[in-house]
Subunit: 253 residues, 2 copies
Amino acid sequence: MEKMRLSGHDVYYATELRAGQRDLVLAGEEFHHLCRVARHRVGDPVAVTNGRGLMAVGRVKAIRKESAILEFSDWMEDHGESYLRLWLGVGMIRSQRFDWLVEKATELGVIRISPLLTKYARSRDGEAKAGRWRRLAIAAMKQCQRSVLPEVDDPMPLAEWLEQLPPSGPRLAAIPEAEMFVGHWICNARLVPPLELVALVGPEGGFAAEEVQLAQSRGFVGVSLGPRRLRTETAALLLCSLLLNMIPAKEGR
Amino acid sequence: MEKMRLSGHDVYYATELRAGQRDLVLAGEEFHHLCRVARHRVGDPVAVTNGRGLMAVGRVKAIRKESAILEFSDWMEDHGESYLRLWLGVGMIRSQRFDWLVEKATELGVIRISPLLTKYARSRDGEAKAGRWRRLAIAAMKQCQRSVLPEVDDPMPLAEWLEQLPPSGPRLAAIPEAEMFVGHWICNARLVPPLELVALVGPEGGFAAEEVQLAQSRGFVGVSLGPRRLRTETAALLLCSLLLNMIPAKEGR
């Protein structure tokens, strides 16, 4: 695997891509995007990711009526990925704001997004939206040249989500009343591999007291995000921004 | 000035509010919001900010047909404000994304937002939008319980903006090709009062080479925001999140 970095390459998504694969036939929506939207021609540089960490780089070899053949010369692992694997659980908010959150969390490098139903979560029509959120995550992954497609879960109750978490590892919850500022936690974080972190942010109405207790009983540390009353999606993105960029890597940056 | 913190208080905006003022007549849009939207009654707790750092806390004293009288018992300076004054210059992007950026930058604590026209900036219809952005900033200030209304400039050319900056102080520009990661700059920042910082983010097409040179000649340090290709508004909010929360205060946090 070469250590290179994509420049202006458009990125396409093909789940079937394997390491070392020389040619790929792009059809369907991705072909439409390449041929009709981006209007690529034979010879143009392009990249393809399988959404599981592999990015292949090459050129358009041929364009047919319903598909294009791409030819690759380089393959990279984890292009555009953070060394930290962050799983975000976030209380349901109204649809447009959640759409936006999915796009931004994908750009920021989150690997999994779980919409949560809580006592004060407003919107409970999320099942119908999960497919839409997955399409937004794919578009954002391609746009920002990531090689991992974040998983977007169907909405589930908070208690059920807590049961699904890995058995150990650091867990943070944004709690407005918490005494510890998130920056303080980050500066003192001593993470050991695997660098997996779970972050939890409440819905617009905040968590109920019993939900805070439940999360704390499952190992969540409450942190404050500062003196302002942030909207759910703002709190989530602030927390993701800080965690994904300011926790010192073991080997330094 | 007492050191208290607002809880669930709705915040209203009245530019004429002065420190120590006991009563205030709220009329117009703000009255409409208090009476018709939030449906407050006599006796309800409310807060009012003048958008210049003052927050008064009290109750609804009387409600008339076209106005409400509020009575205050506490006044606070700089409620919800960061110890760091961050001025954000950002290349023009399309309207919906800029709307969203204004809301989020306000929530994150930025004190001034300058939409910039650059070689590759797409949208040049921003003059008509500046009034809309100011209304969005007011709404976000109230929502997040800040006491300073961020200034939103009319769009201006990058070169003109550079002339308006304070004569000294740290200046950062997000440059994808920069070798220094922003987190590295932050960890080594030794800011001295007044804690004023200027941040610059390019439009979707990035800066032209001569624009990068111009900014650097005016003291901007280029920093990278990591391995992903971020949209303008994502880059701006990531940069604001890190700068406003991770630069150590002189006295510690």
